[in-house]
């Protein structure tokens, strides 16, 4: 008779583990928890600070996309499927650019103001859509950035097709790197903590079932607006940051790439974990830098990732890795 085996999974348990209190009993356990958090932080910081300038810029771009991906995942966790991170990104970028160009405000004012302003404008524009369910939000967010591009092209406002150049740069590249790294880790760990809190729970519940959230007496539109504001503010920050990093803002900030790459990163990394999309971006962006000579074929590659990951590998890297890390597996015979 053929012998059948099945895989048994056992959680590597830490003795007393509740929601946010860990009763650690040994250094080993402490390391077990800290290792996956500390190593990436140190690793990326080392790479960012010590590699030559070209790769510093790549790391910066990577962090920007990682934040866009984390924000995308946060929105999708709240039941809002965005196909247009470029919208939020672009609004933030133009906001920072205009504040600098027209009002001559310094960098440390434009970035925070553009972040809030970007979040605010995006939320106002999309507020009517969050009342509708399903794909409406996806459709509208896909359309709007492309249309805003046309708007700028046609009306020639905000620099028209030329964009706004000669914006003020960061004082130096060290400030730039420190800022983006801090922002990225803050948004990742901040959001992860947020959605695990009692208040954040309401946001996640909307993805599972917004009818039931409503039948729990929660005004889901207010909460969707809040999640929209949080998600789009993060993107707006990225836009504002990029504007000063390149000292330029213009129509390309609404480009599809800013919408597609974050989704591809999230699909590869694992949707729903916030950390997964960051991992995905850390892989995809440097990779696409290496593949630069293939030109637009890179975008084909992102598209393929979307289809393949979503259909065939919905788990994603992060889920897989955390399963391997947190659980022991062994084959046991089926009697």
């Amino acid at each position: 008779m053929k012998e059948n085996y099945r895989k048994e999974r056992i959680a590597r348990s830490i003795k007393a583990r509740s929601d946010d209190i860990y009763a650690l009993t040994s250094y080993r356990e402490m390391w077990y928890l800290l290792f996956p958090r500390v190593i990436p932080i140190i690793g990326i910081a080392l790479v960012a600070y010590f590699l030559p300038l070209y790769w510093k810029k790549v790391i910066i771009t990577t962090c920007i996309f990682a934040m866009l991906a984390v924000s995308w995942d946060f929105l999708s966790n709240c039941g809002l499927l965005s196909l247009g991170q470029a919208l939020f990104f672009g609004i933030g970028s133009y906001a920072a650019g205009s504040l600098d160009h027209y009002l001559h405000l310094p960098v440390y004012v434009t970035i925070p103001v553009a972040t809030i302003m970007g979040g605010f404008i995006s939320t106002i524009i999309l507020l009517p859509v969050v009342r509708l369910r399903g794909i409406y939000f996806a459709m509208v967010t896909l359309i709007l950035p492309l249309m805003l591009m046309r708007l700028i092209e046609a009306t020639k406002i905000l620099g028209g097709t030329e964009g706004i150049t000669g914006l003020s740069p960061f004082p130096n590249v060290w400030v730039e790197i420190t800022l983006i790294l801090a922002a990225m880790w803050a948004s990742l760990f901040g959001l992860r903590r947020f959605i695990a809190s009692d208040y954040g729970l309401i946001f996640v519940s909307m993805r599972d079932n917004d009818r039931a959230t409503m039948a729990s007496g929660i005004n889901i539109y207010a909460f969707k607006a809040q999640s929209l504001f949080i998600g789009s503010s993060i993107c707006a920050f990225c836009g504002a940051f990029m504007t000063h990093s390149y000292q330029f803002t213009g129509m390309p900030v609404f480009a599809m790439e800013f919408s597609i790459l974050p989704i591809a990163a999230a699909s590869i990394g694992g949707i729903g974990t916030l950390a997964g999309p960051l991992v995905g971006a850390m892989i995809l962006v440097p990779l696409s830098e290496i593949l630069r000579e293939f030109g637009t074929l890179r975008i084909v590659f992102y598209g393929l990732i979307l289809v393949v990951c979503v259909v065939a590998l919905p788990e994603g890297i992060f889920h897989y890795a955390s399963r391997k890390y947190n659980e022991m597996e062994r084959w046991v015979k089926i009697e």
Partner: protein, 291 residues
Amino acid sequence: MIVYSMLIYGLINSAILALMALGFNLAFGISGVANFAYGAIYIVGGFITWTLISTLNIPYAISAISAIIIMGVFGALIYKFIIKRIRGLVMSEVIATFGISIVLLELLRYVGLIGFKYSLPVFIEGSVEILGAFVDIQRLLIIGLMVLIIIALYLFTHYTKTGLAFRGIAQEEHTSLSLGINPDRIASLSMGIGSALGTFAAIVILPLGTITVDSGYDVLISALSVCIVGGLGSTFGVIIASFIIGYAQTITAMYLAPHWTMLVSLLAILIILAVKPSGLLGHQKELEERV
């Protein structure tokens, strides 16, 4: 004078929009799948027709029909091999079809789909004078074909067995299941017909310009805009929205400037979202689905 040509050109423009949107809307109304690869299918369909005509020297009519069939089958296959596995997960459906769209369009861009040689011939050369305005025959054909397609769709959904099954699934999936209608078959068929309609629209409309990758995205945007304004899944709503946006665009182009036309849809979307988010005749009421 100007008013007449505005009337005529507005009608043509509306017909173009309606043709572009009908396929997307049909597939969505029946299968519930928003096919974000629709714009790509439109362009690929046009490109296949062009290839058949220009490189294989196959007659126009045969090329066109082959392209429509190929893309129809392609749409059905997308459902069968991709959507079916992720059915019901709206997020996955959207991401997957969007991914397909990107793969197709950017692949075409990579192989170098750019330039004037990529254009389809018109069906009948020449133009006629109507009320003092000169109009290409091709443009008049577009109006006629749109009317024809709408009548055909109506007859199909009201008088054929498959069409009735379509409407059954769209209205009452569970009851239809118990009547022995296979929803997967119907859904893949509707995706196929939607894609075929998209290709048909491409073959009719593309002779007015050249086949470009970016117009793939534009077609998707136009289709989505019309559907948002008209109300997703409502054929009648889509037709009305096409006329509103179509005329508004024509008027804008005549009295302002052509490059303002895209803003008309933007404005229409923003207004409808503020006033009646589910669209003019939207089935998808804000709350009223089954709970």
